[in-house]
Symmetry: C2
Subunit: 561 residues, 2 copies
């Protein structure tokens, strides 16, 4: 039965089976039971094809009110058209291009370029740091810039187990496939003899959560310094990075952060890896830009060190501690050869024994999905308001107060023109009042540095984190669909119960991991937004107090008249 739906995110097709959908566009879904997280349907322009189920919301009307309220009806998955199920060979991403470091291209001081041309998904991702390029439309204040959900995760599956009874995903570019989660769920990822890494999920009072890093630490980023080499031909910014547990500084450039970031994307399926601050092609040594990138790298680093899983990553440890060039190359290669990435990372997770009903987990995830969508919208809204306020502070507010100041000065000048009847004390006081308002205009223009910029930094971090979730939730939806499908096949005698149980068990791992990540996000959000609001209010209070002080000092000039 076809149902109506609305796109809650914009999705741009990347393959011929897919169709574009626009945020808020009305859609028709031919079968409301998604296949591996994909719906088949029609958009408002009459184009037919696939789009991600997690990008849309089914519209419930009176005529189909007998359908349950969750957009993916669990029971319904048994009714899907089995002609959708084909086996596609799983191939690695076909679009590999040389690494293009727009920061600068002299990797060779660390490593030779050929080993760095990597298997990353740079070429297809909207930007190396996960940020989409802003479309020209975004100059329109009604069109909100939204980073494209991260559809690109490393496909590290190199072999397809023949003869699997459960069909593989229709769309080989689905994040579910590419992330390796499909392969993991289907048991295609062989358990390895010894796994050095291990990340534990425990049950907390609010549900599953990552076990804390037993050696918590923080890390400062300071002193961005312009460096030159090749006799000044190349310039770059070096940051002093000092982890608290060693106290020994290392010096890192943006490209090192970017290398680490790409390692994280490869490895950590189901974890929302914070986006790096934007690259800026031109004017990157401009003071304000360096300052802004530093502030945002600090926030990025704080998120890294406070994440129980990311903070324990060996590649991160290498990044934080290695001060020797030769050692750096070795560690870098080791990290790039890490096998426990993508699907294999799932093998490193230790989950609690507690039983969780899969439907409860699904409801939990749906609830988070609604929350994340609304938070994404409101973070976007606040970002726009705060950006506009910055503009007003630098423009309108400053201008108005300066104009007032000029007008007072002009009055004072007029009063000086008829000397015998001119009071110097009054003229000075009025002229001083003029200068005070000119100062206040400047104070308004300066103020965003102390409050709104910090707010925008944090909002930008959260925009990145939130942009990851549609994809992560998509993984879980795909996993659950597999469980239902395998159960149906087992019920019909087409699959061993053991195999179905294996799929269900592995799906539990995905569910626990996702819940742990959701929980960590909430915990961090609470700390971060409390801090953000407090810091903003404190700076605002200090600002208005300074205005009051300026005005009080000025008022006193009239007392002696």
């Amino acid at each position: 039965m076809s149902v109506k739906a609305k796109a809650i995110y914009t999705f741009l097709s990347e393959n011929k089976e897919e169709i574009n959908i626009q945020e808020n566009e009305e859609l028709v879904i031919f079968d409301e039971n998604s296949v591996d997280g994909w719906f088949q349907g029609e958009n408002s322009r009459g184009e037919r094809g696939l789009f991600p189920a997690s990008y849309v919301e089914i519209i419930r009307t009176r005529s189909n009110s007998n359908v349950t309220d969750c957009s993916i009806s669990p029971a319904g998955s048994l009714e899907k058209d089995s002609s959708y199920f084909h086996s596609y060979p799983i191939t690695p991403p076909h679009l590999q291009q040389p690494y293009d470091d727009d920061e600068d291209d002299d990797w060779d001081d660390w490593d030779d370029r050929s080993t760095v041309v990597d298997d990353s998904d740079h070429a297809r991702s909207p930007g190396a740091n996960g940020h989409a390029h802003q479309s020209p439309l975004s100059n329109n204040p009604n069109v909100h810039y939204r980073p494209k959900p991260q559809m690109e995760r490393q496909d590290s599956i190199s072999s397809s187990r023949k003869g699997s009874m459960v069909g593989r995903n229709l769309n080989r570019f689905s994040s579910f496939v590419r992330s390796g989660v499909e392969a993991f769920i289907l048991g295609d990822v062989p358990m390895m003899a010894k796994i050095a890494e291990s990340y534990t999920i425990e049950m907390g009072p609010l549900g599953p959560r990552w076990k804390d890093n037993p050696q918590p630490f923080s890390c400062s980023i300071e002193d961005p310094t312009k460096q030159t080499k090749f006799k000044g031909i190349k310039t770059y910014i070096s940051y002093r990075v000092t982890p608290s547990h060693t106290g020994r500084p290392v010096y890192r450039r943006y490209k090192h952060f970017d290398w680490l970031y790409n390692r994280l994307l490869h490895k950590f399926t189901v974890i929302s890896v914070p986006h790096l601050p934007e690259k800026q092609a031109t004017g990157r040594f401009e003071e304000d830009f360096i300052e802004k990138r530093k502030r945002r790298l600090i926030l990025w680093m704080n998120h890294m060190t406070s994440h129980p899983v990311l903070s324990q990553y060996e590649g991160f440890e290498h990044f934080l501690m290695c001060a020797d060039d030769k050692q750096w190359k070795l560690g870098k290669r080791r990290a790039e050869k890490d096998e426990m990435v993508g699907a294999h990372f799932m093998l490193t997770l230790q989950i609690p024994n507690e039983h969780q009903d899969l439907q409860d987990v699904e409801e939990r995830v749906d609830s988070f999905k609604s929350f994340a969508k609304k938070m994404d919208d409101s973070v976007m809204q606040l970002t726009h308001v705060a950006s506009e306020l910055v503009r007003k502070h630098l423009g309108g507010f400053r201008k108005e107060f300066q104009r007032l100041g000029n007008a007072f000065q002009s009055i004072s000048q007029a009063f000086m023109l008829d000397p015998p009847h001119s009071s110097d004390a009054l003229n000075n006081a009025i002229s001083h009042t003029g200068r005070t308002y000119e100062n206040i205009g400047e104070m308004f223009a300066e103020q965003p540095k102390y409050d709104l910029f910090q707010m925008l930094d944090k909002l930008s971090l959260y925009q990145g984190l939130l942009a990851n979730f549609p994809d992560i939730i998509h993984l879980q939806k795909g996993a659950f669909a597999k469980v239902k499908e395998s159960q149906r096949m087992s019920d019909e005698g087409k699959m061993d119960q053991d195999e179905a149980d294996g799929i269900r068990k592995r799906c539990r791992t995905v569910g626990f991991a996702l819940q742990a990540e959701m929980s960590h996000f909430h915990q961090q959000r609470e700390v971060d937004f409390k801090d953000m609001m407090q810091a903003y209010l404190k700076e605002q209070i200090a600002f208005y107090q300074r205005v009051v002080q300026q005005l009080e000092r000025t008022l006193r000039m009239y007392d002696c008249l």
Copy 2:
């Protein structure tokens, strides 16, 4: 010798001999020696004719640098073309129309209309209260609204003494003629047997000044109350007016103020009579308008009571004290029959014996003229800035803060969507922060009531006072020209020295009166602008302190988290 000049005010011709000149327009003056305060010249459109000398500034270039720097060269007046001198019969203003009270037209409750259809210059003046109607051009922010200089003063001269040797003003609509100052200077105004009124000018440390009112008083205007009559068909606002020296309230309507204002215009040549607040044809019972008119009537009244001459006017006393209908009519008629108006008012002035060199006086007046022009410009500038600030407070500022408030609320709402991970305390604090910024937006919108409105009120009063001065200065210029002309004629034996001495003596009176008025203006300006600036700063301080308090209270909500 023709010279270049620049118009410093716009002048619109009202007679065929005159030509229009625009502020900043370049002009050619055929003879830089003005005739009775008028130049003959050509505007930039090639039109030739007369325009007031006090409206222009002569441009000195290297080629005519041998000419002195004052725009009217005293010596030069002897060279003027005597063909300019014709005797025009002095006629009363020819454009008399029924009094049109747009407040309401039921004068009949005080007096019958026929006696009120008066000799005022309403019909020709830009507005009964001296305010020009704003031209459509004034929507252009670069075109400043400027009340047209008051060209209309009562011509109360009914007879022209035949055979006067000194020519009368070429232009019968010149304020110099209409004010009666020409007639007074030429000795056409007969000294009367007994003059009950007397206003003294004394020498102060800064020059001539009005002798203080021996019985100073103030006067409150309170409690504007909507009244109805004719069973509710007519509505009007009545103000309670309480002079301090009687303590007894009288009740007055705007039309009574307007009647008094027109009496003042008739009587007080050389005094800058404060303009009444604007009439407003529609919505005049709208609360804000009533409040604004009340505030401006209070300022008007304060200026009246603080003026040594105006405050002693019998018609004003009648306005302030008469509480009886019958007595009101009698007093009103008496004031309207007052003979000591216009030219005759000059007879009531007692001047000091000190000698003042006429050229010194002229320089003194020129210096005031420059000052008044610059003050007029800067008052206009401040008026525009303050009006724009009001608009910003009500619009942009409010909107920005409300948007910020909404965005915070939206964040708080998002945080409530995933209940097990939702902190009520944090959500409440953020939501409260949102409401605080919405309040701050409202506070911005309310603030002009406490500061900018008061500033604009006072600036409006001063715009009116300053708009009177070009005309008043024009009177003095005309008088001085007569002195020079008569001296020349006396030197040439064409006039008795006695008659020339009489003209010089009467010109001294005009000079003293003008200086006393200039001095009073400065004295009042100093008090008023000091008060205005202090009041503005105090309210601004209180405002930003309230903002700080609101933010501090909000910040405390985060402390307990």
